[in-house]
Assembly symmetry: C2
Homo-oligomer: 174 residues x 2
C-alpha cells in the first residue's frame, strides 16, 4: 500500500461520484448553511499524520490526479484529469484513527495548525494541477469542459451527500 517504508505522512480514500454536495459552513442564527457541489468526478478524503511535511504534497497530488481510477464514457479507465472530472476534497481526520478497546484514538494525527497548513497547500496544488494539467498522454484534458475543484472547511463537520455509479473506493498512503 505504501511506496516507502516507515510510517506514512498522509492517508487518502478516493471515491468516484456523479454528484456530491458538501457543507462548508453550518447554519448560523440568521443564515443558512453553505454548501459546495461537484458533478462527475472524484472525492478525496484526506488525513495527515504527525511528521508529515510539504515535501510529500507534489507527489501526492500528481499521483492522485493522474491515476486511472475513473470510468470514461467508453468504459476505459481514465484519470480525473483525463476524464476530465471535478474534484471534491474532504478533510477527514477520522481516517487517522486506530482502534483501542472499543474506542478510536487519533494520537498519530498531525496537530491542528500544521494540518490546516498542509491541507491548504494540498488544495492549492490540486487547483494548480487542474488548471494546468501536465499529462504526457495523447488524451489530454479538453479545456472546454467545465471541471471544478471544491473543498471542505478544515476542522468542520463534513456534511456530505454522495451520488455514485459505483464509488470504486481506493485507499492510498504517502
Amino acid at each position: 500500500m505504501t511506496e516507502k517504508e516507515g510510517s506514512p505522512g498522509a492517508r487518502v480514500v478516493l471515491q468516484q461520484c456523479v454528484h456530491a454536495t458538501l457543507q462548508v459552513k453550518p447554519a448560523g442564527e440568521h443564515e443558512d448553511a453553505q454548501f459546495v457541489q461537484i458533478d462527475r468526478g472524484m472525492v478525496i478524503y484526506i488525513c495527515f499524520f504527525k511528521g508529515a511535511t510539504e515535501d510529500i504534497l507534489p507527489k501526492m497530488v500528481s499521483t492522485i490526479l493522474n491515476l486511472r481510477l475513473c470510468e470514461s464514457d467508453s468504459g476505459k479507465m481514465a484519470s480525473v484529469l483525463e476524464l476530465p472530472g471535478s474534484v471534491l476534497i474532504v478533510p477527514q481526520a477520522t481516517l487517522g484513527g486506530k482502534a483501542k478497546g472499543r474506542g478510536m484514538q487519533y494520537h498519530n494525527n498531525i496537530g491542528k495548525d500544521e494540518g490546516l497548513r498542509l491541507y491548504n497547500a494540498f488544495v492549492s496544488l490540486c487547483e494548480k494541477e487542474l488548471k494546468n494539467p501536465n499529462t504526457n498522454t495523447a488524451d489530454a484534458t479538453d479545456a472546454s469542459v467545465n471541471v471544478t475543484l471544491k473543498h471542505g472547511t478544515y476542522g468542520n463537520r463534513q456534511v456530505l451527500k454522495l451520488d455514485t455509479n459505483g464509488p470504486y473506493t481506493h485507499l492510498m498512503e504517502f
Copy 2:
C-alpha cells in the same frame, strides 16, 4: 492500523450515514433495477485479500459492530449496536488496489469464489450479531427500534447513494 504483523486478510472502510441506497440488481430488459436502503447507521465497505480465512470473521464482526464510531443523539459516541443503527455492507474489491505506474493492480485480492464465500459468511455473522447483540454494557440495544442489515451483491457494480451528517470515514485492517 493492523493489530497483528504481516499482510492483512481484510480491509474495511466504515462511514456513518443518515440514509443510504444501494443497487443490488441492475435493470434488465423488462425489469427495473432493484435497490436496498437503510436509514441511520453505518456503511461497511469490505475487501478480502489472498490467504484470508473464516477464522478472522468473528473478531472482525465483533470489532466493527462494537466500536464506538457513531454519534448518538446526546452527542456521545456509541457503537452501531448501541445506537442502535442499521448496517449496509458493500463489497468493494477496489479497496485492495495498489498503484503501479498510472494504473491500479489488484493482485493481492482474494479469488472470486473464495471471496464470495467469505463475503456471505461475513454478512451472516453480522446479521446474527445484529439480531442478538451481546454487548456487555448497560446501554444495550433497545429491541423495539427498527434496525436492519442490507448488503450489496458480490461482483456487481455498487451503485450507491449516501446521505451523511459527516461520514466519519474510518479504515481498519484485520
